[in-house]
């Protein structure tokens, strides 16, 4: 009897799953599957951030980047500038709490101390680039309403088009986005392009993912170009030497290690 019950359960689950694939996936389904792809607990990489202005000026920053999803659901990121020399040693620690105020600490070698800093929301620019803290963080699936629009093709590949609208005014205010249109390849669920609209629904930025690197069997966005169409400014973020699950301890993401720059 127990075996029959078990077999029935498996059958019902298979039926539900097959029904799930059988019906056309909704915008929510696609986003959920895309966001749940990453399989690592911690990651470290070397990030090259290139900033280009409309005046043709270019600045290149190199950053040692560490991140970890902690057991309590917090996302921790620690960054250290290694180049150019005038910003070398500058460190930044961000702890995104699932529930509660995010924490940000800045270490400026010139001032020789770590300081807890206020934040201009997750819509604040990351290291003076066109990426915001929201862009580089882990998006919360439940923060947005998703509408699937007509599929398209991108570089010859079938592509989902998802319109994302913030569920609340607070999310709109925090992220600085009134709408995001995401282009997601149908075969690998790679988010190859996004168009960001500001709070007044004016087109603000366009993200193009130029390159993916396979990490633990999942494609990781390793070369991203963000163009702010309103101020004609471009930032390129490239990830190299990506390592995952190296066992970075949680206390690494602390004031102690932030100031241990050398």
């Amino acid at each position: 009897m127990r075996y029959l019950s078990y077999a029935s359960s498996v059958f019902i689950m298979l039926l539900i799953t097959s029904l799930g694939f059988a019906r056309a996936p909704t915008g929510y389904d696609i986003m959920e599957r895309m966001l749940n792809q990453s399989t690592w607990d911690d990651m470290q990489a070397t990030v090259t951030l290139t900033l280009k202005t409309s005046r043709g000026e270019t600045r290149v920053r190199t950053i040692d980047f560490y991140s970890k999803e902690s057991q309590d659901g917090d996302t921790r990121m620690l960054m250290r500038f290694t180049d150019p020399a005038d910003v070398e040693g500058t460190g930044f620690l961000m702890i995104e709490h699932d529930n509660g105020e995010d924490e940000r600490y800045l270490y400026l070698p010139a001032l020789r101390r770590v300081k807890r800093i206020a934040a201009s929301g997750s819509g604040g620019n990351f290291m003076s680039s066109d990426f915001t803290y929201y862009d580089i963080g882990s998006p919360e699936l439940e923060d947005w309403n998703y509408t699937r629009q007509a599929d398209t093709t991108f570089a010859g590949q079938k592509t989902f088009v998802i319109e994302c609208l913030p569920k609340t005014d607070q999310i709109r205010e925090d992220t600085g986005y009134g709408k995001i249109i995401r282009f997601i390849l149908q075969d690998k669920l790679n988010n190859v392009k996004s168009v960001y609209f500001d709070e007044s629904l004016q087109r603000k930025k366009v993200l193009d993912v130029k390159e993916y690197t396979e990490v633990n069997g999942v494609d990781f966005e390793s070369n991203m170009v963000m163009h702010d169409v309103q101020i004609d400014h471009t930032s390129i973020m490239e990830f190299d030497d990506i390592q995952t699950d190296t066992g970075i301890p949680e206390d690494f993401f602390s004031q102690r290690y932030l100031q241990r720059m050398r």
Partner: protein
């Protein structure tokens, strides 16, 4: 510094650089050219020259690291402009920092010449009494206007609690003009060593600390040894401090307070400071990515205050309590160009000080700074006394 000391220093740097190569570590630093003009004195050059700073740093495994920075500062305004003067007359060479770090599981130690800054407020920090100020060398760089000290520092970590212990064997005073004929400084002996303890922790988004410092007042107490002879003496102090900072969205709220127990606990000596409490409350606000604002209110209250006693001091009696404000604004004018102004205003005396500068990141590792130091106030007020020391400056800095 005499030249027979410079050669061993250069040799030491060469050896360090060689060792650095062996360990494949980091040799870095900067070269900068600077000019400081006093607009009140027919545009006299106060400082004009160039500086090379060499930095050597590296790690020795996971348990130790080292860092050393040496300044070679040539100030043409300070060299003797005479056909008989040596060409190196305006050259000064001095260590900025030189220390060794030792790391263990639950404690980190730093030994050597270093900066140790305490406090959560900006610019005015009552709990920050370890590194003296160089009031004659105010610039955009903290290592110009603060003086490093030889110290041993230990940070001990127990969960969310950090205990910091600091020992400073030698006393180093503030560098400032004093109206004295002589100065009495504490002798370099163990019994005169300074030390401090700081306990820091956090609850949620609130960081806080309690601190204690035993040492010497870095400003001299001015005494009379018969008219008109004045002499200054650096007297012991004990400082009991506390500070906090917390954030809420785009806002940060902070406070810092310290009780200074002086050598005149009952307020009977008109020449020595009475015990006093200095407190700062402030707020940081980041309305946009391009602007950050800081406002602080500073309060100073003197205990055991007797105006009749205080008036016996020929320098004049200071009020029992004073209020001042310190503000700071940083604005990204355009990409790679930022403007910053720091201002202090004393309500009682009506005097003020402002440091303002414009930074342009001309290229990777290349910065250009224009700035000004402005003092204003009645001639007998703290900033009014230096009202003719205004400066306008420009610096070009190339980091490598």
């Amino acid at each position: 510094m005499s030249y027979n000391k410079i050669f061993p220093l250069l040799l030491a740097i060469f050896i360090c650089a060689t060792i650095t190569n062996i360990h494949a570590q980091n040799l870095s630093g900067y070269v900068k050219s600077f000019g400081y003009v006093n607009p009140n004195d027919t545009a006299r050059f106060d400082r004009a020259g160039a500086r090379l700073q060499l930095q050597v740093d590296g790690r020795l495994g996971m348990d130790a690291a080292y860092f050393a920075a040496m300044d070679f500062n040539y100030d043409a305004a300070k060299s003797a402009h005479s056909p008989f003067a040596g060409r190196g007359g305006g050259l000064t060479i001095y260590p900025v920092e030189a220390y060794v770090d030792i790391f263990t599981d639950h404690a980190d130690f730093r030994l050597g010449q270093q900066f140790i800054f305490w406090g959560t407020a900006d610019w005015v920090n009552p709990t920050d009494n370890i590194n003296p100020w160089d009031y004659e060398n105010i610039s955009s760089e903290i290592e110009d206007y603060r003086i490093p000290v030889m110290a041993a520092r230990g940070n001990f970590y127990l969960g969310p609690v950090k205990l910091q212990a600091v020992g400073i064997p030698f006393f180093e005073p503030d560098k400032m003009p004093t109206p004295t004929d002589s100065l009495i400084t504490p002798e370099n002996r163990l019994s005169n060593a300074q030390f401090g303890l700081k306990l820091a922790s956090y609850v949620g988004t609130l960081d806080y600390s309690l601190s204690y410092f035993h040492g010497y007042d870095q400003s001299p107490t001015i005494r009379h040894a018969g008219q008109p002879v004045l002499y200054g003496e650096y007297l012991p102090i004990d400082v009991y401090g506390a500070d906090f900072i917390t954030t809420f969205g785009s806002w940060a709220f902070k406070g810092e307070s310290a009780y200074f127990r002086t050598e005149d606990p009952d307020g009977s000596d008109p020449f020595i400071d009475n015990p006093y409490l200095e407190s700062v409350v402030g707020v940081d606000y980041i309305p946009t990515d391009k602007i950050s604002l800081t406002g602080q209110l500073v309060h100073n209250f003197t205990f055991q205050y007797d105006k009749d006693v205080e008036q016996l001091n020929p320098q004049g009696a200071s009020p029992q309590q004073t209020f001042s404000t310190a503000v700071r604004t940083q604005w990204e004018v355009m990409k790679f160009v930022s403007y910053q102004v720091i201002g202090v205003y004393n309500f009682e005396d009506g005097d003020s000080f402002a440091l303002t500068f414009l930074n342009w990141d001309m290229a990777d590792g290349v910065g250009l700074t224009f700035g000004g130091l402005l003092f204003q106030g009645p001639h007998n007020s703290p900033f009014g006394r230096t009202a003719k020391q205004d400066q306008i400056f420009a610096e070009v800095k190339v980091s490598f």
